[in-house]
């Protein structure tokens, strides 16, 4: 731990530390305002726009980008791709941190956060998709905690408990895949209830499937991004296995991402055909839809393929970052940009500065947590 503290305190990080400190201070001030003055004091939410960026970005994007955990553990433990083993622990850690931040973000967004456990103890409401979302978040966060526990138990030196936790790996991985399938798709399914609000190009009866498939893409791309970031900042702490497997993780995951993107592109086109929305492509929203479909789905699919064929690690890394941006664009399109598209611009939602501050605050907290985590969490 002392190593980590030392490197964070080095001059290379000082500018980052100052900016992070300012963001944390601002975030804490807005947090106090939010929980003393209520939602109206720090957000632009209203009856037309009950969900802002705390849902669209913090939750929708956060959950999608945390998909690396289930994607990697399924690849290694279920599909037997053992050569990617070194990528499992960082991916599960990121998933765990991501989901924790999603739950924290929910406390800001939900009017009465102390009622978050109500679906389990007061009234189930099993006909509501929000019940499914609540159940999946709670259960999957628990699964991620248990999946991550071997690392924590190693630090604590509890060898016997660690061995028990390791024995649960297979069951937890299967649980993780089930819960992630349901959770990722249910976030898309939430919008099924609003065909009159979401633009027809984004509204589709396949939207749960789109969210699930795109989460796999997000997970694969995030693992590639994390792997290159951790290599940059923690190179000296990586063991031989990690260094050896690093390139094969990037190439293998890049190949998988290219394939899944190709499938995603096809099902998106099938969605347009099924609803016969071709004519809408000629509108302004259609142009933006094409930017998403061609720029953030077809293009990275092609670039990943080229990168893998030519073994161009740099190209794969940049494509991964571009793909992650594409997932952010998609989730914001569904939850914000193409949502309430029929309203006059005066009634459209734009986030309050305090909402943006909280979103940046939570991302910063996530980065700081990853940074301060014991290096063992990444490289054993």
């Amino acid at each position: 731990m002392s190593d980590t503290t030392a490197h964070v305190g080095s001059p290379r990080y000082s500018a980052f530390n100052v900016i992070a400190g300012i963001i944390l201070a601002l975030g804490l001030v807005v947090t106090v305002l939010r929980f003393t003055g209520g939602l109206s004091s720090v957000t632009n939410l209203d009856d037309h726009n009950p969900w802002g960026i705390w849902i669209g970005f913090d939750l929708m994007v956060g959950v999608a980008l945390a998909a690396g955990g289930y994607v990697t553990s399924a690849a290694v433990y279920i599909f037997g791709m053992k050569k990617y083993h070194s990528a499992v622990r960082p991916a599960v850690l990121t998933g765990f941190l991501g989901y924790t931040l999603v739950v924290i973000a929910l406390h800001y967004d939900v009017g009465r956060p102390w009622r978050l456990p109500y679906p389990f103890i007061m009234q189930q409401g099993t006909t509501s998709l929000l019940f499914e979302v609540a159940a999946c978040v709670a259960l999957y966060l628990t699964v991620l905690f248990l999946e991550f526990s071997p690392a924590a138990l190693e630090w604590l030196g509890l060898e016997r408990a660690r061995n028990w936790a390791v024995k649960l790996t297979m069951v937890l991985t299967i649980f993780g895949v089930i819960l992630s399938t349901l959770h990722q798709s249910s976030l898309g399914a939430l919008f099924l209830i609003a065909p009159s609000k979401l633009h027809p190009l984004w509204y589709s009866s396949y939207i749960p499937l789109y969210f699930f498939v795109s989460s796999v893409i997000a997970g694969l791309s995030m693992v590639i991004c994390e792997s290159s970031m951790s290599y940059k900042y923690f190179k000296d702490k990586m063991d031989d296995t990690h260094m050896k497997e690093k390139e094969s993780v990037t190439l293998g995951f890049g190949k998988a991402a290219s394939l899944v993107l190709a499938g995603y592109f096809v099902i998106k086109v099938i969605g347009i055909a099924a609803d016969n929305n071709w004519s809408l492509l000629a509108t302004g929203y259609g142009a933006w839809y094409m930017v998403e479909l061609l720029g953030f789905v077809a293009l990275p699919c092609f670039l990943y393929a080229v990168g893998v064929r030519e073994k161009n690690i740099t190209l794969i890394k940049w494509t991964a970052a571009w793909t992650v941006l594409g997932i952010v664009v998609n989730r914001l399109n569904v939850s914000w940009i193409a949502f309430n598209y029929h309203l006059p611009s005066s009634e459209r939602y734009f986030p309050h500065i305090a909402e943006i501050v909280i979103s940046i605050f939570l991302v910063t907290v996530g980065i700081l947590f990853s940074d301060y985590c014991h290096p063992d969490a990444y490289f054993i």
Partner: protein, 114 residues
């Protein structure tokens, strides 16, 4: 007469109820819970079996290669032994023949002298 449009409410919303819109997605949930574990355990079992067969095949290939090498070495050895035996026999035969010839020659020389 008041109409909802004048009150700022939309009239193009159709008549499908909210539960009808989400019923399809929710009905798939129990199927995912029921079938995903079967499918995933199946994939796991297939991979496990593949790995087992791989390692068995590898082991068998190594054993076979060792056996073959041993048999080849044995054959070479016995061939060499046979050759050595033959050589030895030939050498003995030659030596005996030579000795006999020398003895016969000596005997005839002795006879001639006497």
């Amino acid at each position: 007469v008041l109409n909802s449009e004048k009150m700022g409410m939309r009239e193009d919303l159709g008549t499908t109820s909210a539960p009808d819109l989400t019923h399809g997605a929710l009905s798939i949930v129990p199927m995912v819970v029921g079938l995903w574990p079967v499918l995933l355990t199946g994939v796991y079992a297939i991979n496990k079996r593949k790995e087992k067969i791989n390692s068995e095949e590898k082991k068998r290939a190594v054993t076979e290669a060792l056996e073959k090498a041993e048999a080849e070495a044995q054959a070479k050895l016995s061939q060499a032994m046979e050759k050595a035996e033959n050589d030895k026999k030939t050498a003995i035969d030659t030596a005996v023949k030579k000795a006999l010839e020398e003895a016969a020659k000596k005997e005839s020389d002795d006879k001639e002298t006497s």
